[in-house]
């Protein structure tokens, strides 16, 4: 292990959006202590405002949110809202951050989020369920994410009445701004960015015409709980719009006043999403038109999404930047004036509504923050990073992820967040990973053979339950139920005091089952389970009757009805808990060695990140040498020397004593599960077989450089790929001196039926090479024939520079591809110029083809079969969740990074490599893997080995074992219970949801009836 000098082991994460949350969770799950701060009064960031996200069109926050309440979080994350870094001293390993917290005027320990204050003083209490309908549920976790209430004192006219409105006395006007010094070993910046406010532009009428809205406002209109309750109505007159236009790049990719020069990267996709959702959800009679400059759908499978939008959903796309939006007299309709792409006359079209697709902006506050922290910003105000270390700022020990690094979408933000967590964690003392001791727990008491002795604890939750139903009467009722030994009103059951009392009672009264009459198990099950465990009971010996969220909140105006239902809910819980039995969480000892497959840049970066942390890494490479695709790349777009970087990486990898490199190696077999894998490798010229035991697998097998037989490639010496040209420019610059014309053709072998996705790197390669040709030979004329120029983020700067320096960009469509003929030592390229509207014959001394990537189908197919991992239809590995878990593969313990995931740049591959290493650490930090107890188990005596469970399981877990009955590996079971319901012999039961427990609930509800 490397020597680390610092003594400080906390990480400060600034910003609680999706990126900051991901970083904090990764660190916490790796056993690190985190302080997560956000200047807002609740966390969640921009994503919580979105209706649905591309490309799944799902509400993805709901998929992530269950993870936010995982217990690791409670132990390791301290959350401070309304807090900013006001000063930073010290250096990497020993920072002292001064944190300033604004007063919330609400004591979070007492607040139950009943909403009384908000109801009586809506103007003075900050709470935004209209804007964020998920805030009151998904983002609500005990003691962690605070309920999103805060008092705005300046807007309150009757302070005394406001204070009195709170039934629990949580409003505390004596709160003042607090200042705290925090020691931290490293810092992650995830402060996000703001969305551009187009009011400053005078051409599109935003702020003047009510039916001109921003894309975020449109998201809110689409949202089921937005201002129109999910109905598509336009603001001016509440009519349902029939013609909607989107205008892309509003405020981005511009040179005029108020605009920024960079591309905001994510907007093409979200405009497509909004148009698709509009037609899908409301009516396909609604005309949706997107005015765009270049459709930049360069992410994983995004090109397919774009094609679906056009071909399946009938979204109309017009390549034009509209000149203006003016109001049609009095109707509220809007007239868009634009020049069509075919070079014809200026036209105008009338729309009912216009959506301005606005991108990301760095605010003055963010620039100030950067100044206080002492990190460099680039010319656009974003944190400056380097291609080969994309999450490190200019200041050692400070890392960055998400929008503050550059404009990007959610998956890339999640990747950077995990990468930043990996780097920030790597700065801390590795010994601390295991040094953090978990709480001491009393031994678990055996309840075997005991009759159920149930304790019922009923919360009043202030007035939320107690104000609607008579809790003492409910307690009497509960005490009368069978097997109930004790019942008590417990006030706020979730408070520290009450939990202490409950623990006491369990011991004193000898209880062996517990029912809580409380709020939702979704939010409080974990807390109450902990309480049982701390009292020496198995944590699965309890039930929660959801008296608040599903009774008293719903029937507040009918107390009798609520009381009757409360009794029924309690009875159901009591009947069911009688049958509860102790369950053991399944655990496995964790093998902490790592197998990395693929020795390119990605594989080496991932290996080094983990080896530097002290983990043993086996790096398996198919070819005879390390380096992968990057061996054939000389310069990045930004001008960095790729070969020097790769050489350094190879040296570090080969000399690292924690890394064992196996070249000329093939994976041949594989068994086991996360924490206990065994993979067979054949290696060396003799193909010796060797089994490797490891706990984690990272796939970094890369993609192949595409080389399609097209445009005389490999037939004529003047025709080459951009990679060939890259090398030629370095090694034979003299050749370039004599060139008059150079032609480049984009999307050769990409965005075509055989290889449908965008290769991501070729537009940059073309611009990089074009600029270098002009550096060597300023007289050369360079023509780039393109379909869409895709230079997201700051790459746009180079595209602009290329245009300024005279590179000529000519658009072509798939239906009118250029043609190439040999012409002596050169070639003639013929194409149609849409601006002048005629065919051009261009004699070129060099033709460079942008050929991009193609998936390494053979490798991914072999490995996919051996490891049982799914792949996309174009043969890249398919991650667990395209939005939120971009490096986790669907099988626990497997991660993917680099071009095996999707075509990506070196910068993005390095980030993803570190992200995979970071995610791997969330497993490697544990000594055992806890698999929970909600798993399916088979009664072998009842099993007829009919194979139905084998076919039904969505995760392919059950199999018929050697003894002839179905076996379900608890380590692989996800606990959905599908097999249990499908099993015709009822030989399978899902623990905690066994059939007799479910039927007991029915008995509790219906017993009196028949």
């Amino acid at each position: 292990m490397q020597e680390k000098t610092q003594t400080n082991n906390k990480v400060l994460v600034v910003g609680g959006g999706m990126g900051g949350i991901r970083s904090a969770l990764d660190l916490a799950e790796s056993g690190r202590d985190v302080v997560l701060i956000d200047k807002a009064y609740s966390i969640g960031g921009l994503m919580t405002r979105l209706d649905r996200t591309f490309p799944t069109n799902n509400c993805d926050l709901c998929t992530l949110s269950p993870h936010l309440s995982e217990s690791g979080r409670k132990l390791h994350i301290e959350l401070l809202t309304m807090t900013e870094v006001s000063r930073l001293d010290g250096e990497a390993g020993d920072f002292t951050a001064t944190l300033t917290t604004k007063p919330r005027y609400i004591d979070m320990d007492k607040c139950t989020a009943c909403g009384q204050c908000h109801e009586k003083f809506p103007e003075a209490v900050r709470f935004t369920p209209g804007l964020d309908h998920r805030a009151p549920t998904c983002m609500r976790y005990p003691q962690a994410t605070p309920y999103a209430f805060s008092i705005d004192l300046e807007r309150c006219e009757d302070v005394d009445a406001l204070v009195k409105s709170c039934p629990t006395g949580a409003i505390d006007l004596n709160e003042t701004e607090t200042v705290r010094k925090l020691s931290a070993g490293s810092i992650i910046l995830a402060p996000g960015a703001e969305l551009f406010d187009p009011t400053v532009l005078d051409t599109y009428g935003y702020g003047v015409h009510p039916n001109v809205v921003t894309s975020m406002e449109y998201e809110r209109i689409l949202s089921a709980t937005g201002p129109t309750n999910g109905q598509l109505l336009r603001p001016s007159d509440g009519k349902a719009p029939q013609k909607i236009a989107w205008i892309q790049c509003v405020g981005s990719r511009g040179v005029q006043e108020g605009c920024v020069a960079y591309c905001s990267s994510a907007c093409c996709m979200y405009a497509l999403k909004e148009a698709i959702v509009t037609r899908e959800r409301f009516s396909d009679a609604i005309e949706t038109t997107i005015f765009y400059m270049d459709m930049r759908t360069f992410g994983k499978d995004y090109e397919l999404y774009y094609q679906r939008a056009k071909n399946e959903f009938g979204v109309r796309l017009v390549r034009s930047r509209p000149h203006s939006v003016v109001s049609e007299n009095g109707s509220g309709n809007l007239e868009i004036a634009f020049l069509p792409e075919d070079g014809g006359q200026a036209r105008s079209e009338v729309y009912d509504m216009v959506v301005l697709t606005t991108g990301f902006r760095i605010t003055p506050e963010l620039r100030e923050l950067a100044g206080r922290l002492g990190i460099d910003l680039n010319e656009h105000g974003f944190a400056r990073t380097r291609s080969f270390d994309p999450v490190a700022t200019s200041k050692p020990g400070i890392y960055v992820c998400g929008l503050f690094e550059s404009p990007k979408d959610i998956p890339e933000t999640m990747i950077q967040a995990s990468a930043a967590a990996c780097s920030a964690g790597g700065d801390l003392n590795p010994l601390r990973i295991v040094a953090k001791s978990e709480e001491e727990l009393p031994p678990e008491r055996s309840v075997l053979g005991e009759d159920p002795k149930i304790g019922v604890f009923i919360c009043d939750c202030g007035l939320d339950i107690g104000g609607v139903v008579d809790v003492p009467k409910l307690v009497d009722f509960a005490a009368s139920l069978p097997n109930v030994a004790f019942a008590e009103a417990i006030g706020h059951g979730c408070s520290k005091e009450s939990l202490g009392v409950i623990r006491q009672r369990i011991g004193d009264k000898g209880l062996n089952r517990v029912v809580f009459g409380a709020c939702s198990p979704r939010t409080h099950e974990m807390l109450f389970q902990d309480t049982l465990r701390k009292a020496g009971l198995n944590k699965y010996l309890m039930e929660i009757a959801n008296l608040r969220d599903q009774d008293t909140w719903v029937h507040a105006s009918q107390p009798d009805v609520a009381a009757q239902k409360a009794k029924e809910l309690l009875k159901m819980a009591v009947f069911s808990v009688r049958l509860a039995h102790p369950l053991a969480d399944h655990t496995l000892p964790m093998n902490k060695d790592v197998l990395v497959v693929g020795g390119g840049v990605t594989g080496m970066e991932a290996s080094l990140s983990l080896a530097d942390m002290g983990f043993r890494v086996y790096l398996v490479e198919r070819s005879g040498q390390l380096g992968g695709n990057a061996r054939n790349i000389r310069k990045t777009l930004e001008g960095e020397d790729v070969q020097a970087y790769v050489k350094g990486l190879i040296e570090r990898t080969e000399s690292h004593d924690q890394i064992q490199v196996l070249t000329q190696s093939l994976i041949v077999d594989h068994t086991g599960m996360a924490g206990a894998f065994r993979t067979g490798v054949q290696f060396g010229p003799q193909m010796f077989y060797r089994p490797i035991r490891h706990g984690i697998t990272i796939l970094a097998t890369g993609a192949l450089a595409n080389r399609p037989r097209e445009y005389l490639l490999d037939e004529h010496e003047a025709v080459m790929t951009q990679r060939d040209l890259d090398n030629l420019l370095e090694d034979r610059a003299d050749k370039v001196q004599s060139w008059n014309n150079v032609a480049m053709i984009q999307c050769v072998g990409s965005r075509v039926p055989e290889n449908p996705n965008c290769s991501r790197v070729c537009c940059q390669a073309a611009i990089k090479n074009a600029l270098r040709i002009l550096d060597i030979n300023p007289q050369a004329r360079v023509y780039v024939l393109y379909r869409d120029m895709r230079t997201p983020g700051f790459e746009e700067d180079y595209y602009r520079k290329a245009r300024e320096r005279g590179v000529i960009f000519v658009n072509y469509g798939l239906e009118s591809k250029p043609a190439v003929k040999a012409n002596g030592k050169g070639v003639t390229v013929s194409f149609r110029d849409p601006i002048v509207g005629r065919e051009i014959q261009l004699p070129a001394d060099c033709l460079a083809l942008s050929t991009g990537f193609i998936a390494d189908e053979e490798s991914t197919e072999d490995l996919g079969t051996i490891f049982r991992l799914p792949r996309t239809q174009d043969d890249y590995f398919l991650e667990d969740h395209i939005k939120l878990r971009p490096v986790d593969l669907p099988i626990p313990g497997f991660f993917v990074a680099g071009t095996a995931h999707s075509p990506r740049s070196i910068r993005e591959s390095v980030a993803q490599a570190k992200a995979a290493a970071g995610r791997a650490q969330t497993f490697l930090a544990r000594d055992t893997i806890n698999l929970g107890a909600v798993v399916a188990t088979v009664d072998r005596d009842k099993c007829a080995s009919c194979l139905i469970c084998v076919r039904a399981c969505p995760f392919d877990v059950p199999f018929i074992n050697a003894e002839g009955y179905s076996e379900i590996d608890p380590a692989k079971c996800h606990g959905c219970g599908t097999c249990a319901s499908e099993c015709p012999a009822k030989a399978i039961q899902l623990m905690q949801y066994e059939d007799d427990q479910i039927l007991a609930k029915l008995d509790g509800l219906l017993e009196r009836m028949v």
Binding site: N58, R522, A556, M572, S981
Partner: protein, 147 residues
């Protein structure tokens, strides 16, 4: 019949429908108290036995609520659940009980309104159908005879 208050069992999946129910609560949306929720990890966990037993024990209506198409936390549980509901409907048809007493619904975790709406509409539907015939004479006699 005038004062008939049906008892309805709603099997709700943890990730979507149960969350939507909590959401309805936190937004203080009213829905009939007749609906009693049983939480399951996935709607695919609910099989014919659960629905039939509920009816046998005297529930007047049963529904399963899962995630929207494509949103299932366990990939396809909601599709399987819909199939189970269809099977139960067929079964009910055969034994002369209105198949409208069981139904499948889908909603996302954020759809508190949808949860309340479904609960109200289904309760109305069952109210119109009247009490579960299992509780009335003919079936009750059969039950008694069978013991």
């Amino acid at each position: 019949m005038q004062n008939f208050e049906p008892v309805i069992v709603a099997f709700c999946c943890h990730y979507c429908a149960y969350t939507a129910a909590d959401m309805a609560g936190s937004k203080r949306l009213g829905y009939p108290p007749n609906v009693k929720i049983i939480r399951v990890p996935c709607s695919g966990k609910v099989d014919a036995i659960h629905m039939m037993k509920a009816l046998e024990k005297g529930a007047d209506g049963v529904y399963v609520a899962g995630c929207l198409d494509g949103d299932c936390h366990f990939k396809t549980g909601n599709i399987r659940a819909a199939r189970h509901v269809e099977a139960v409907k067929k079964l009910l048809d055969e034994i002369g009980i209105e198949k409208e007493r069981v139904e499948m619904f889908s909603m996302s975790a954020g759809m508190g309104e949808k949860f309340a709406e479904v609960a109200s509409e289904f309760t109305e539907r069952i109210r119109k159908l009247g009490p579960n015939p299992v509780k009335t004479s003919a079936f009750a006699q059969v039950r008694q005879a069978v013991g």
